[in-house]
């Protein structure tokens, strides 16, 4: 099993390997944002920020913040040379219209059909969906980056119980235990983390897992 301190790093690093040169990618708030730190230098990924630009760069040096330049979480960021700003209608036309190659989001629950729940817990937490519903419907690939369980309870379920963000849109799930692809036949475990057994992954997953005959060890 992966050390607790390395869980987020392992997930972010593995997700970063999913991108091709020239891909347009939207990273969600939290763990997905960390993926940007691990993208291969030879792969040019254009990050889209749904508040209205492409060419999202790292945080500015202290003292060099621009009050007019923030990401979708209101954090100060930079814009890379060649970036472009636009309004929210254009931003979501880019998202909904299939001009984003991949979106990376966290999840509360994902299920065997690729259904995703990540925007509310009735009676407890109702932050709103923000741009998540549009991103999940519009992006060509939906990658979920999350810890495999929440306080020991599985998050990869037979069927989501929380209100859905979108139905049947998830393509890939990356956790600290492995990489799972959503297929027509169900969830396929394609990669497994080092020092982790298939039995351990199955025990931490409520959904049925099809073990790929070409199961590989996840590069961490």
């Amino acid at each position: 099993m992966i050390d607790k301190e390395r869980v987020r790093e392992v997930i972010a690093k593995r997700v970063a390997k999913e991108f091709k040169d020239g891909d347009v990618v939207n990273l969600g708030i939290g763990l997905p944002t960390e993926v940007a730190n691990y993208i291969d230098k030879d792969v040019e990924v254009i990050l889209q920020s749904e508040n209205g630009f492409i060419g999202l760069g790292p945080a500015p040096e202290e003292g060099k913040e621009d009050k007019d330049l923030v990401n979708a979480g209101a954090k100060f960021v930079t814009i890379k040379e060649g970036g472009a700003c636009f309004d929210s209608a254009m931003s979501f036309a880019i998202i909904r219209g299939g001009h984003v190659d991949a979106t990376v989001l966290g999840a509360l629950q994902v299920d065997e059909e690729g259904n995703l729940a990540n925007w509310m817990i009735p009676g407890k937490m109702v932050p709103g969906m923000g741009g998540a519903m549009d991103l999940v419907v519009g992006a060509k690939r939906v990658i979920i980056a999350m810890e495999h369980t929440a306080k020991g309870a599985p998050k990869i379920l037979k069927k989501c119980t929380l209100p859905l963000t979108a139905a049947k849109e998830v393509n890939l799930i990356v956790t600290e235990m492995g990489v799972i692809e959503v297929t027509d036949k169900g969830l396929v475990l394609k990669e497994i983390a080092p020092d982790t057994t298939v039995e351990e992954v199955i025990a931490a997953t409520e959904a049925n897992l099809i073990i790929s005959p070409e199961l590989k060890v996840m590069e961490v």
């Binding site: 209205g52 923030v70 979708a72 309004d87 929210s88 979501f92 109702v126 741009g131 549009d134 979108a166």
Partner: protein, 218 residues
């Protein structure tokens, strides 16, 4: 035609029970001076349309904190705990709309359309109570237009006729809302002479703007 007004003059247009659109994304690109003046005036029972309810001390969040909002039509409330509290206690109604749908509903009104068909929300609670149409084998939700009595914009540079240019990520909902309200007011961070913004760099054309307030940088 002189569109330039003092903020006190603008406040004569703001009344109890109105529907007001505010540009801004988590407060970035929101007319803070006009929000402060509305807080000071204390009008009640507003319906606000904005991307989010920002923070208790920034953007439209200040109107929520001052209990001036009856209903908020927004995509996100997570950064303003006061919105959640008032929603749970029943003091305030919140209509959560996916962000891309929210902006298209506003754009639809401003563009004279009867609504938009979007795949966003199919198979979720967003679909409930709405017309779903199948077009060429794919399902879409019919989302209706949104309009307001007043739209309050923030422009980084505004010329004296009302042409607007927006800096970086301050643009967001501002240019879309400029088309969807009876009265459109812009707070200018910097008021410039006509001609200082090149015609091809104008984002919101002056014919959409009714009044200009000088705000300064903040």
């Amino acid at each position: 035609m002189n569109k330039i007004k003092k903020i006190e003059e603008i406040m004569e247009f703001i009344k109890d029970g109105q529907t007001i659109m505010f540009g801004g994304f988590l407060g970035v690109g929101t007319a803070e001076n006009i929000v402060d003046a509305i807080v000071k005036k204390g009008v009640k029972d507003l319906t606000i349309i904005c991307n989010d309810t920002a923070f208790v001390d920034k953007g439209v969040g200040k109107l929520v904190a001052n209990k001036q909002v009856k209903k908020a039509i927004v995509s996100h409330i997570g950064t303003n705990p006061e919105t959640g509290r008032q929603m749970n206690s029943g003091e305030m109604e919140v209509e959560l709309v996916p962000q891309g749908t929210l902006v298209e509903r506003i754009r639809a009104y401003g563009a004279g359309l009867g609504g938009v068909l979007t795949p966003t929300g199919i198979g979720t609670v967003v679909e409930q109570g709405k017309t779903v149409l199948e077009i060429d084998g794919k399902k879409f939700i019919l989302e209706k237009p949104l309009k307001a009595d007043i739209a309050i914009l923030k422009g980084s540079r505004v010329d004296k006729k009302g042409n607007i240019w927006y800096s970086k990520t301050t643009r967001n909902f501002n240019p879309i809302m400029a088309m969807a309200a009876d009265i459109v007011i812009v707070e200018a961070e910097k008021l410039v002479e006509v001609g200082e913004i090149e015609p091809e760099n104008v984002v919101t054309p002056h014919i959409l703007v009714d009044y200009i307030v000088e705000g300064g940088e903040r």
